[in-house]
Symmetry: C2
Subunit: 202 residues, 2 copies
């Protein structure tokens, strides 16, 4: 934890992932911890703040989440792209020193028993809402966001600040085969009210 | 339909939405059609190709999808940001001429009874996999992608081409309050195998 890490109002936590960034998922159970990459992370509800994450049956981290019923979704930055790719393409099942070899640095916060990844822009601590049918049939897990934090250099006053930052300090969007895009330029709709829901509709 | 619109292999259809773009959701039932904006669209499975979309109970388009059991997810481009915002902030419930006023242009493809939005970069035609518990409890809908197309100027050979295109011809990522980001620069991981799954793990 560094001095830039600030709590994010849960009502605005969805904004940390609304733009569809590549994420890292971390979890710990009974002394074993792991971190995996996941692109299939998505907002589900504003209040209570909820999200979905797809966790393949071959993912070691999935087992930790099934057992501990908690996990952290973090938003890494472009300078961490190689780390994200490494964590997403190596498995703790076959490589017991995966985390050491990846070079990932973890930290903890008081009152939580989950590992957080250093250097990321945002962290969403989630508790699993058990839905056995979704988990078994679709590999689909639902988490309720219980706490959220962001590095205030990248997200503050409820808004990402990427338009003021160089490309290596923006979030990532994964396609396939080691190919990412960074988050690009800002577009503001002139006549928009200040607070419009993130998953707009109608 | 224009001459640039090409079918996309279903095994690679997830790549059209893997980077978390803002999307438009369109549907038609019994002669009534609508288009809404949605950011909470996410890959779910590679094969069969599936995705999730969150559809609020206040969304007219949701009712069309519940009745017709089919819909289209499309990936709009940055030059369409005002259209996306308009379609996401007006409701057919209260504004019967919403589509006309939005200026959206729709077209159809032979063999499908769904409206598609002109000018987008990609289209995913989905059939609903009914999951009543998810739909009622979480507003969460699962679609199986039955056909996918992309404009070959923006996506070809299984890859987005945004790094070769100006900012107004890139996809959008929505935050809140009329604030979008465009898709930014490309990052390639040097030692990645050519075909790595999109929702990486481990």
């Amino acid at each position: 934890m560094n001095q830039f890490m600030k709590a994010v109002d849960l009502a605005k936590a969805y904004r940390l992932i609304n733009h569809g960034p590549a994420t890292l998922v971390s979890a710990r159970h009974d002394g074993t911890e792991n971190v995996m990459a996941a692109s299939w992370v998505c907002g589900l509800e504003f209040e209570p703040a909820r999200l979905t994450v797809v966790l393949d049956k071959g993912a070691f981290t999935r087992r930790l989440i099934e057992q501990s019923r908690s996990f952290v979704i973090q938003v890494p930055l472009a300078f961490q792209a190689s780390l994200v790719y490494h964590l997403g393409s190596h498995s703790l099942f076959s490589e017991k020193d995966k985390l050491t070899r990846s070079g990932v640095s973890l930290f903890s916060l008081p009152g939580t028993d989950v590992p957080l990844v250093s250097g990321c822009a945002a962290w969403l601590y989630c508790e699993l809402i058990p839905e056995e049918h979704n988990q078994q049939t679709y590999d689909l897990f639902i988490g309720e966001i219980k706490s959220a934090w962001a590095d205030s250099r990248f997200f503050r006053d409820g808004h990402w600040q990427f338009e003021h930052l160089p490309a290596d300090q923006r979030s990532l969007h994964y396609i396939a085969g080691g190919h990412f895009y960074t988050t690009g330029d800002a577009i503001e709709i002139a006549d928009a009210p200040a607070e419009t829901p993130g998953a707009s509709e109608k």
